[in-house]
């Protein structure tokens, strides 16, 4: 399991005031790493492969304006898969410049884009669209947890980066 992902990507130097403060929050940082493992590399991935999850996370990190986090997830995509399938995910899912053509994958990408960029606009119809594209109840929850986690993680990194300048 990868550790201290948020601290590394936020560039928190050891011995800095923020690093010292976060010693009191070591359990939160450990559980954040464990959450990363649970949504990116779960033991039971269901209908969402580890490679697809990494590609979706890279895409969300890009929407969230976090280049370092997007690079982290592109590296995870490389680790998770190789060959044409992984290259296709990198080209069509892991970048905000593109949309995949295949129906199920397009519905998944559309949903993570919505949940990341305009969660307030989400309605019952968006869940129905995932079902219509072939996702079952468990995959819909898995996809939602992945999207929600990346949004949490990117905000912790953005917030910590911002705080470091004033400590």
């Amino acid at each position: 399991m990868q550790t201290d992902i948020i601290e590394r990507l936020a560039g928190i130097g050891s011995g800095s005031p923020l690093a010292e403060a976060l010693k009191a929050r070591a359990e939160i940082m450990r559980l954040s790493d464990a959450s990363h493992e649970a949504v990116l590399r779960p033991k039971t991935p269901g209908g969402l492969s580890h490679a697809l999850r990494a590609a979706l996370a890279a895409r969300m990190a890009a929407w969230l304006g976090n280049d370092a986090l997007a690079a982290h997830y592109r590296a995870l995509l490389q680790e998770a898969g190789s060959g044409q399938a992984a290259e296709d995910l990198a080209a069509t899912v892991a970048t905000t410049e593109s949309l995949p053509a295949e129906r199920r994958l397009a519905a998944i990408v559309r949903h993570v884009d919505l949940v990341t960029r305009e969660p307030r606009e989400a309605t019952r119809a968006d869940i129905e669209a995932l079902r219509a594209a072939g996702l079952d109840e468990a995959d819909i929850v898995r996809l939602s947890e992945l999207a929600a986690f990346v949004n949490y993680q990117a905000r912790v990194i953005a917030g910590f980066r911002c705080l470091q300048d004033v400590m």
Partner: protein, 193 residues
Amino acid sequence: MSEPVHTFTAEPLQWSPYLTPVRLDEATPEQLDAMKVTPSNKKVSDYVLTLAHDPESLAVRSPLFNAIMYGRDGLSRAERELGAVGASIVNRCVYCASVHAAQFNRLTERTDVIARIFADGPAAELEEHQQAIFDFAVKLSETPPAVTHKDAVALRDTGLSALEMADLVLSAAIFGWANRLMHTLGEPRRPSA
């Protein structure tokens, strides 16, 4: 069933999932463990039963959420709730907003702050200390996050310690997670009379 609620309120609401929750009598040992179901604790909400479709995530997210919102020292309970409300306003998660607004009101024994936030949204004007906290949570919740150096300076200048500022980041960010489950997987309704 009663009509869905789409406006902010500090009154208690029920949450109704768009998905079929896991049935407690059909749950696997892993799901029961993630839901913290024990022989003496068999009360599980529809929200938790819905999230039990992905027990690996649920098992780590619940303790993470509790550590962020209820951990010792650092930012006060009420101010963590204000961070949660800021995020929930941006994401229009009416259910999360109602729960955490009610907590804020209970902890501070006042209702005017939440009333102003519900009336004016992200632009609400508050007392200086609460304004710095609310504005930071609101801006962190935008996509992409819009917090700037100035927002961090405002937190420091209102007297927050390094740990308190870190706690605010965490409490607003965990609602970037919670809102994206609550608001996208179901909707709030008024409890039936």
